[in-house]
């Protein structure tokens, strides 16, 4: 499935009233594809929160700017920069000290959600696999469950990005059980 087709499926899913989608992309174009998806959603006048567990937010912002995405209603939760000693000064980003602090992700989403101006909102979680490096499978599954259900309550369209090659059967089953739709997997 091409990134363009995945983007179409996401728009269709949003219009169908879904709130939770698992989106799979191959490792070969994962980062590029994820940035493209964010660009498409921002172009459709959605505001959003981008959670990054795999790359510093400054890199993603640079890529989105290069893609001429409208960043006026996009905020970031960054679990990478503080861990690696990167830049932690950005008005649109909340930085989390360590990727083990999973509850902080939920807290920071709540804080940023208040800043979103758009009526139609999304959360892009990049990526579930990035968290699995630091958390045991049972902790990760519990977190996904809590995250998914809290986003349902908030009625924010949430995309759980997964790297196809890194998602084992157990994790995939947990994601399928939780999600309204599986795209590109």
């Amino acid at each position: 499935m091409s990134v363009a087709d995945i983007a179409k499926s996401i728009i269709k899913s949003i219009n169908a009233g879904d709130t939770l989608a698992t989106v799979g992309l191959p490792a070969s174009n994962f980062h590029e594809g994820t940035v493209k998806l964010a660009t498409v959603l921002l172009g459709k006048k959605l505001g959003g929160i981008y959670i990054t567990t795999s790359r510093p937010s400054s890199h993603i912002i640079a890529e989105l700017e290069e893609a001429k995405a409208n960043l006026s209603d996009l905020y970031f939760v960054d679990l990478v920069s503080m861990t690696v000693g990167g830049n932690t000064e950005d008005a649109r980003t909340l930085f989390i000290e360590s990727p083990t602090m999973l509850e902080s992700i939920l807290l920071n989403i709540s804080l940023l959600e208040r800043r979103l101006k758009s009526k139609r909102r999304f959360v892009l979680f990049d990526s579930i696999n990035g968290l699995s490096i630091y958390s045991e499978p049972k902790v990760l599954k519990e977190f996904i469950n809590v995250l998914g259900n809290s986003m349902r309550i908030k009625a924010i369209y949430t995309m759980l990005m997964t790297v196809e090659e890194q998602t084992d059967g157990d994790l995939a089953a947990a994601l399928e059980l939780l999600s309204d739709t599986m795209i590109g997997t």
């Binding site: 000290e97 360590s98 083990t100 602090m101 999973l102 509850e103 902080s104 939920l106 807290l107 920071n108 709540s110 804080l111 630091y134 958390s135 045991e136 049972k138 902790v139 519990e142 977190f143 809590v146």
Partner: protein, 270 residues
């Protein structure tokens, strides 16, 4: 004309009855845990280990009250009030004008002691000193019309009392008049962890007399320290007993349930 819906919502509170008036903390998550806030006039023991966020929580409790027009008071026992004031400036939710307008009052216990002439060389209060101190606390609450009070820390006061009976008596008498004045109070209790078990107080008396106990601590997860909070008891209120995570955010403290699997399995409570 449409029929009026007379279906009563199912009460989830097994206690039934009429709820007590609540002192709303306005701290993100805490009022949810307490089903609306702390019952007015309750004395709450804020028990926690070093660095667990006790003073920050207590300060936000006072500042939020002051911002809503209440008169609040902080009695500093362990550090000079000038130092406390300069620490307060670092909180984004602090507002200088609250102190200037007399909504947030900060007192040094050492200054109160000096004025009462109760400072002892051996550091122990006599029964007369104890009476004088209780009288001074009562005067502050009564004359200023204090509705929120914090004593930081009650442990330091207890060290100056001669025995456990005196501690029980002191806290009991304190709670009696504070309750009469409708003053909701937080007493900060410094605790330690022994063999992975955290106590509520050093002397083992304070928690029995207090109306409520907040247990605060640090959880170790993969080497990282996470601040936690658990409401152990709260007289007059139905409340959650689940363990929660506390985080200091730009808008103040925020509290959220801890992941269940994320707190066990080699993750010690320190």
């Amino acid at each position: 004309m449409a029929k009026k819906d007379v279906t009563k919502p199912i009460s989830l509170d097994p206690r039934g009855g009429r709820p007590r008036e609540k002192c709303v903390t306005h701290i993100e998550g805490i009022d949810r845990i307490l089903n609306g806030g702390i019952p007015v006039g309750n004395i709450v023991l804020l028990a926690g280990t070093v660095g667990s966020g006790k003073t920050t929580l207590a300060m936000e409790f006072l500042i939020n009250g002051a911002k809503n027009g209440e008169t609040c008071c902080y009695i500093s026992v362990t550090e000079p009030s000038s130092k406390m004031l300069s620490n307060l400036q670092t909180y984004g939710f602090f507002d200088d004008s609250l102190v200037k307008e007399g909504k947030l009052n900060i007192f040094d216990l050492t200054v109160i002691n000096d004025r009462l002439g109760v400072e002892r060389m051996d550091g122990t209060y006599t029964a007369k000193d104890m009476e004088a101190l209780l009288g001074a606390f009562e005067d502050i609450v009564d004359e200023l019309g204090v509705t929120r009070l914090v004593v930081d820390s009650i442990t330091a006061v207890c060290y100056q009392l001669p025995d456990r009976g005196s501690i029980r008596n002191f806290i009991f008498r304190l709670s009696q008049f504070l309750s009469t004045f409708g003053c909701t109070t937080m007493l900060i209790s410094e605790t330690v962890v022994d063999s992975n078990v955290q106590t509520y107080s050093i002397f083992g008396v304070e928690e029995a007399v207090a109306d409520g106990v907040f247990l605060m601590g640090n959880i170790v997860r993969q080497g990282d320290l996470l601040r936690s909070l658990q409401v152990v008891k709260m007289r007059g209120a139905k409340h959650s007993r689940a363990r929660h995570l506390i985080e200091l955010t730009p808008v103040g403290l925020a509290v959220i349930p801890l992941l269940k699997w994320g707190q066990d399995g080699g993750q010690a409570f320190t």
